[in-house]
Symmetry: C2
Subunit: 372 residues, 2 copies
């Protein structure tokens, strides 16, 4: 597979720390919510080993932030998600599947409750700004839906707490999982949440005002020198091992949250106000679902389009959406959408990869945090 050269344009946005990411040696980029994001700095395997042993600072500016504010803010967001928002506390972040009235997934952002009439969504790769604006316009809701000048920097890895303590003080590290606290640096207050797109532990900083992002990046890098801090980015191997889904890769509007294995984030025993409620009640016993699978053989190529899975009798059994060679597991770890008849752990299937057919084994769980 030859390299793809990306043509620069104003249409493809650059985060306020883009030049620092480039200077840190980003080797490839992707486009996420129309924003360039660095994809790795060493090899993917080197980045992976470092992420699991030290601490990294990630420019995840592609997780664009949408603010929903006003008296109807919670009602508007609740219309798009089966997760019950009425139970959120004031310092809470929540991973919320968002769905259309047919129950099809539109996004799976982290929601931060800044006040009962003010929320931030840190988006996966689809423009929920437009869906929310459309819905609010149709219902003439009393809300403002817009993209504030807020950019997320993630601090991820086993030494994340230590780095955060050095920069923001010990108290900041007492923030619980998917809760946030306000921290200050150079007179600038920010949301610091214990969250992030790895299972190594860590934080996400919501930098409010692009002028502040560079100095904060520099401060984290400086303070982390003794911790072997490096620029990093979400790591394909690590996120597959951890079972973290990628919207647009692993699921789309064609799938319900139940098919995506996100049933635990859905309240369906009562109607919370989600427009997809009835559809989700009807869809709660899915006929296909996300499963961890192992793909035999040497390191797999990149999944640039879904790979078909087949049963021994040749019947279609699903598709593989993400796959990577795991140096720790010494096999290819993968995420697949598997038909009900085939999803029992231990089931043997085959996948049509671009370089030929390979044996596949359905696993009972994702590989998680384990480090060599």
């Amino acid at each position: 597979m030859t390299q793809i050269i990306l043509n620069a344009s104003n249409r493809l946005r650059r985060s306020p720390t883009f030049e620092r990411v480039r200077a840190a040696g980003a080797k490839a980029y992707s486009v996420y919510n129309k924003t360039l994001i660095g994809q790795w700095f060493g090899t993917m395997e080197e980045d992976y080993a470092h992420l699991k042993s030290a601490v990294q600072v990630w420019d995840v500016g592609g997780e664009r932030v949408v603010e929903v504010a006003g008296p109807d803010a919670q009602r508007l967001i609740q219309m798009t998600t089966p997760r019950d928002l009425s139970v959120l506390t004031d310092d809470q972040c929540a991973y919320i599947p968002m769905v259309d009235p047919q129950g099809g997934m539109l996004n799976d952002p982290v929601l931060t409750r800044l006040a009962d009439d003010r929320y931030w969504l840190a988006l996966a790769d689809s423009d929920m700004l437009l869906y929310l604006k459309g819905l609010a316009a149709g219902l003439k809701l009393d809300t403002r839906v817009f993209e504030p000048d807020v950019w997320i920097l993630a601090v991820q890895g086993p030494s994340a707490d230590e780095l955060i303590a050095k920069v923001f003080g010990e108290a900041a590290t007492r923030t619980r999982f998917f809760r946030y606290t306000m921290v200050e640096l150079g007179g600038k207050w920010m949301v610091l949440a214990r969250s992030g797109w790895s299972v190594q532990g860590g934080f996400e900083l919501y930098v409010d005002g692009s002028d502040h992002a560079g100095p904060i990046w520099d401060r984290l890098m400086e303070a982390g020198r003794g911790l072997d801090v490096r620029a990093g980015c979400p790591n394909l191997i690590e996120r597959i091992e951890g079972g973290l889904l990628s919207y647009g890769n692993d699921m789309s509007v064609e799938h319900t949250p139940f098919e995506a294995g996100l049933g635990r984030s859905c309240t369906i025993d009562r109607d919370t106000g989600c427009l997809g409620h009835a559809a989700l009640v009807a869809a709660r016993e899915p006929q296909r679902q996300i499963r961890p699978v192992e793909i035999a053989g040497a390191k797999v190529p990149v999944v640039a389009a879904l790979w078909p899975l087949t049963a021994p009798d040749g019947q279609p059994a699903g598709t593989v959406s993400s796959a990577a060679w795991s140096p720790e597991q010494q096999t290819n770890v993968a995420i697949a959408m598997v038909g009900r008849a085939y999803w029992t752990p231990g089931t043997e299937l085959a996948v049509q990869a671009p370089d030929g057919e390979r044996p596949v084994l359905v696993k009972d769980r994702f590989w998680g945090r384990k480090s060599a």
Copy 2:
């Protein structure tokens, strides 16, 4: 500026003719509506000269098609555009600015009226599928809004009519500007519209069913051999000369259609049902507007972020959003958003380009079709 390597993933879609584009020698790509699109095949200047002298086939699969169908289809689309849709004839395509209730631009697609209850939108780079779905959900409209398996191939250049005649017969070339006809190839019927993102003349084929796109591409290439047909793509130089705007580059939700110079596509003397009607009536005398400008000096670098314009007294005068060296004009042609005080043709300004300040001249018109 170093090259940016794009990392492949399933999330970044490939059109059904992606491999043909690659085989034809695409040198760089962009991501447009989450779809990879080839950006040039020779140098940008070579592609430009060829486009103005022969005929090219473009994979513009990034112009994703959204279908709006059902009894409320026209009403739904009309809510998003100030262009009066009630006057469209049955075989008509229409360039429609789409706006939010505040009059901010959301997209500027070409609308094709397939029937009074069935429309296609060929989108610029923003996900109007989500806005339309949100609006329809809020109002409980009787519509279906979805992305059909339709992919656009454009045939552009002075020999476009000749090529279309060879493949689809002489009658097809009698299609008028922004009208369409149905054509057939290998038993497959398609919409053929006289439209496209160049001012060299040509057509857009809406290939309904991705399996058909490859064979149709091959047929066009084969039939066009004597016409020096080549794979091509929208050309930055040619589209600036022609005054064709690029959503996300030249205008965004921050701009009204009047600021974008699209007042001729807005009906504001009566309320057509556009939710932005009142806002647009109030905004019809803009304080800034798109203007063609010339930038002095040698070939400019790529505009990867807006370049500030200043007046002789140092006051901000606007921004340059697109610029390229024109071999025919022997100067840098550019598109700028210019403040009212400075937009009179002949006004001299300065632009802060990444390689230094350069003199700028406001022009009275875009450069258009002229060929050397």
